[in-house]
Amino acid sequence: MKANVKPVEMLYEASQTTLGLIEGAVPKHEMQILKSFFRCMESNLRIKLEQIAEGKPIIGHHFAFPSEVFSCFDAVPICVEAISYLFSALFTTGSEKYYDLANSWGHPYHSCTSQKGMIGMALEHNFIDFDVIAIPSAPCDNTIASYQFFSEHLNIPTIVADMPYYHNSRGYEYYSNELESMIQELSTILNQEPNYERLRQSIIYSNHAVENLAEINNLRRSIPCPVESVFNPIGSAVQNFFSGQVEKEIFYNEVLEIARERVRTKKAWRETDERVRSFWPYMSVFFDITFCEWLDRKLGMPIVTDIFNYFFFGPIKNIESLDTKGMIDGLAYQSMEYPMVRQSESFASVFFEDAVNLAHQFSADCAIFTAHIGCKQSASMIQLMREILKEEVGIPMLTIEMDIGDKRMTSLETIKKKVLEFTQTLL
């Protein structure tokens, strides 16, 4: 029987039509990064759907997971959170209907919408037939609690890799063993032997992506910033949806070329001059990515970086000659230093130090913190973050309470108004 993958099919159609529209209607030199993203998205989804049609098993996973490990198996990895928020970004109706279904079923209204989209889809019988789900015990309790819906209510085998609190050599070793156990469990559930040469290839793709992102971030330090703000929300999608897949390497490669060209030619790529460089210690808005265009074009306020678009780790070294344990050790380390996990799963000081470093490195004039209702631990640090950025970098921070995936909590108009007022006090 054919697996139900309607949400993936819907996203594929949306990516196809959006790509057709922007490639047909938008001049060639405009919105290049968005076009690149949709080309990769369309290709990635098409391949996933073909593989599912061939009968390959589907592995659901959490965004903060080294999904490269799934390439050991002849299976299709799909990120649960990415589906919820891609719906939110690409469809005018968003994921709101699904959040409401999850809420009315009994899931708390203040829990994170990143999993609630998929919970709602399941309740509407419009779900993805996952064969197995694999998640880390990070970056928050909310996440683990939400995944219980899939394991307990839908009876999907769910494997949890226990991530330790301490980010030290002992912790990395422990998590590496957890990943190894997870591969063994997956092997049993999927009835496949792990193929570690495929894992090596997947890490090679990821290594290139990590190197390219580092180079992109170097270029983003230029004034004016050569990369559109929309890179931030779509970059988050790339991180989580294309991990360990060739599209991630292709996307970052194309963005790198665009950024290099802009820095080299010093050619203006938007009409508005750069007036205020904003650093977003948390995430940008997902429910309407036109907001980023508004920041660039109307305010001249690029997002120089955010939590999801900077890696605090390098590529896994000597990948060509590494043994299996070495590869998994490398992934365990990257996974524990992964965006958001690094800041949320350990001492709060890491979050503050990273924010201060990034604000300095990217010459930020201000910070904007999206206090996402579902993310209690990050929102609990707002006041300290304000004070630290003020004292150590000398920049003000605006806080906007919202749900990054639900436009009803704080509307785009309200967000724009707050950002505009903030900008006026800076100029």
Binding site: Q383, K390, I400, M409, T410, E421, Q424, T425
Partner: protein
């Protein structure tokens, strides 16, 4: 003459200054902004010209406020900057400003030159702002101008939920049905406003040991002022001008200070 018009969420406030005569306030006018702000502003401007017998070229106007983005008229000056300028130019004690507006509360910290150093605003819910107390008064059947009269009579202020204006309104109806005294409900509502303000004030003015300047419509409430003083242990004052016109005043002064091209 110079005119600053603050197009707020509920009211439009206009102030006219005579720049040739030490910036004396010549006129203060108020109108409603709900519905069609453009039309209301035009009517207000016409009334001002008529009252002062001014020709169009004799009145220089700038606009500010929550609703001024919707106007086609220019120039526009940022509301927070106008509030800062209004307090800076009208008062000696001017480091922390607390503005209780129709829909928003703003806490602004300024330096000795009037530059904004930091600010905070309430979030998406208007709870704790002017419209919150309006809804409560409406439920109680009293005039908003009477809140002090009732609140000062209260012996046992009844706490009211301050998380949401709609919840608070519902709560008031329950309390009335339970036979609670109106004065206790009003005092409780005023205290819930200060309860919303104090955390914001402490967030950006933790070290405050100076005078706190209270502006906006509810700044006229002595009860709210006294409650803030008691809870924060600092002096709370109104500016020398009518607190409801502070932003309009700052707008006029900013217009005076800045050439039109720079705005």
């Amino acid at each position: 003459m110079i005119c600053g018009i603050d197009v707020g969420s509920i009211l439009i406030k206009a102030i006219v200054l005579d720049e040739k005569n030490s910036n004396d306030i010549v006129l203060q006018e108020i109108g409603k902004s709900i519905g069609n702000p453009e039309e209301s502003v035009t009517t207000l401007i016409n009334n001002i010209r008529k009252k002062l017998r001014l020709k169009k070229r004799d009145l220089q106007i700038a606009f500010t406020g929550r609703n001024c983005e919707n106007l086609t008229m220019n120039p526009k000056i940022a509301e927070l900057n106008c509030l800062a300028e209004g307090i800076h130019t009208s008062s000696d004690h001017n480091r922390i400003i607390v503005d209780i507006g129709g829909f928003t509360n703003k806490i602004i910290k300024i330096d000795e030159t009037g530059r904004i150093m930091d600010y905070l605003m309430n979030n998406i819910c208007s709870s704790g702002s002017g419209v919150f107390i309006s809804l409560i008064c409406k439920s109680l059947g009293i005039d908003i101008m009477e809140i002090d009269t009732y609140a000062f009579k209260s012996e046992h202020p009844h706490p009211i939920s301050s998380q949401c204006s709609i919840f608070a309104e519902t709560e008031v109806i329950y309390l009335m049905n339970e036979g609670k005294q109106i004065e206790d409900i009003v005092a409780g509502a005023c205290k819930s406003i200060t309860g919303r303000l104090i955390p914001l004030i402490l967030k950006i003015g933790r070290e405050i040991n100076q005078v706190l300047m209270l502006t906006g419509g509810l700044a006229k409430s002595e009860f709210i002022k006294q409650d803030l003083m008691e809870q924060l242990h600092i002096e709370v004052k109104n500016p020398s001008i009518d607190p409801i016109f502070t932003c309009a005043y700052g707008c006029a002064r900013s217009l005076q200070n800045t050439s039109k091209e720079e705005i």
